[in-house]
């Protein structure tokens, strides 16, 4: 096992311990913890036995395990960006609702008597 693998495994282990501590403290949802555990497990296995990724890659028609990781990372990141974008859209909508409520609450007017100008000139009717 190379030095890089050992460092990476140690880092993964530290992150996992951190996630468990956070889970205890803030009681993150079961779903979040489940996703974190799966990612951690897959990452650890791929680090400890890199050849396994090549086996999986071959199975889906990609030459090397590293390429498979790269491609899936790109896809996962795009999905992630999009989810963040949707969250921003929702956030904007919420902000707009707040801004609108404030605007309606502080509406000014009538700033001078609405129909005076028209009646003064005797027009309309």
């Amino acid at each position: 096992m190379s030095t890089f693998q050992i460092i990476l495994l140690a880092a993964l282990a530290a992150i996992f311990v951190f996630a468990i501590v956070l889970n205890r403290l803030r009681r993150t949802s079961f779903r979040t913890m489940f996703i974190v555990t799966v990612i951690w497990a897959v990452g650890s296995v791929a680090t400890a036995w890199p050849d396994l990724t090549t086996l999986v890659a071959r199975a889906v028609g990609i030459g090397r395990g590293a390429d498979l990781l790269l491609y899936s990372a790109v896809v996962i990141m795009f999905v992630g960006f999009f989810m963040v974008y949707l969250r921003l859209v929702r956030l904007r909508r919420n902000i707009t609702t707040l801004v609108r409520q404030a605007a309606l609450h502080q509406a000014e007017g009538p700033l001078d008597s609405g129909t005076r100008d028209l009646k003064a000139t005797g027009e309309g009717v």
């Binding site: 904007r92 801004v99 609108r100 605007a103 309606l104």
Partner: protein
């Protein structure tokens, strides 16, 4: 000016003209004053302008509402419409602040609604007149109209024209979710799904160098389409 307005005063007193404004200091006063000569209720919704639009509006508009932060034209229109409804408006007109619309067109928009012939009227510069319309912009609008026909499935002669009028009942159905410019297509969706009767009426749009600069570029047109799709798919 007033004498040429064929609408009775009672109708004009029941009409609220909503003017969304964002950094419009150079035009807003003139636009609002010309509206106020004929319509007593002019609502300026300042959409977080960084210039002194809101102070100028306070000097001439009947009502001034201010978005503390910029939320986009769609959001400003929705705010203005909700305000007008809360003040008992029977008719609501939307009017751009950049001086490309003519006050005379407002009565043209209102007349069919007042006569009870439809609930919504949409201004069309291609039924009416588009002064100083450049070839590039004409082409862009043609694409937008095509988009409207395909996506909104409404046979219209114009798209993204800021001049519209709603009856109170119609305005109550309008819920603009797209904050920015995609609201124009969104309003058409609302019209189609609600089955509210509408009509296009000829209006005059006068392009000034200022309004062209504030208008939409082809690149931004693509962004509008993107925002529209997002608003439509992710409600």
């Amino acid at each position: 000016m007033t004498a040429s307005n064929t609408l009775p005063l009672s109708v004009r007193e029941d009409t609220f003209v909503v003017v969304p404004a964002f950094n419009e200091r150079s035009c807003i006063e003139q636009v609002v004053q010309s509206l106020r000569r004929e319509y007593p209720h002019v609502v300026v919704v300042d959409d977080g302008s960084r210039d002194d639009t809101v102070e100028i509006a306070r000097g001439c508009a009947t009502y001034v509402l201010r978005h503390e932060i910029n939320c986009g034209q769609g959001a400003a229109l929705q705010t203005g419409i909700e305000f007008a409804l809360s003040r008992g408006a029977r008719y609501i007109v939307t009017f751009d602040a950049d001086d490309q619309h003519r006050v005379g067109c407002v009565s043209t928009l209102l007349e069919p609604i007042v006569r009870g012939e439809c609930e919504i009227t949409l201004g069309s510069r291609f039924l009416g007149e588009a002064i100083n319309l450049s070839e590039g912009r004409r082409l862009m609008l043609r694409v937008a109209i095509l988009f409207t026909r395909l996506v909104n499935r409404l046979q219209l002669t114009d798209a993204h024209n800021g001049l519209r009028a709603f009856s109170r009942e119609a305005a109550q159905r309008i819920r603009i979710r797209a904050d920015r410019m995609a609201h124009a297509s969104e309003i058409l969706d609302i019209i189609r799904h609600s089955g509210l009767s509408f009509r296009e009426v000829p209006v005059r749009v006068h392009y000034t160098p200022y309004s062209i600069e504030k208008g939409q570029s082809p690149v931004r047109a693509f962004r509008i389409v993107f925002h529209y799709v997002i608003a439509r798919v992710f409600q």
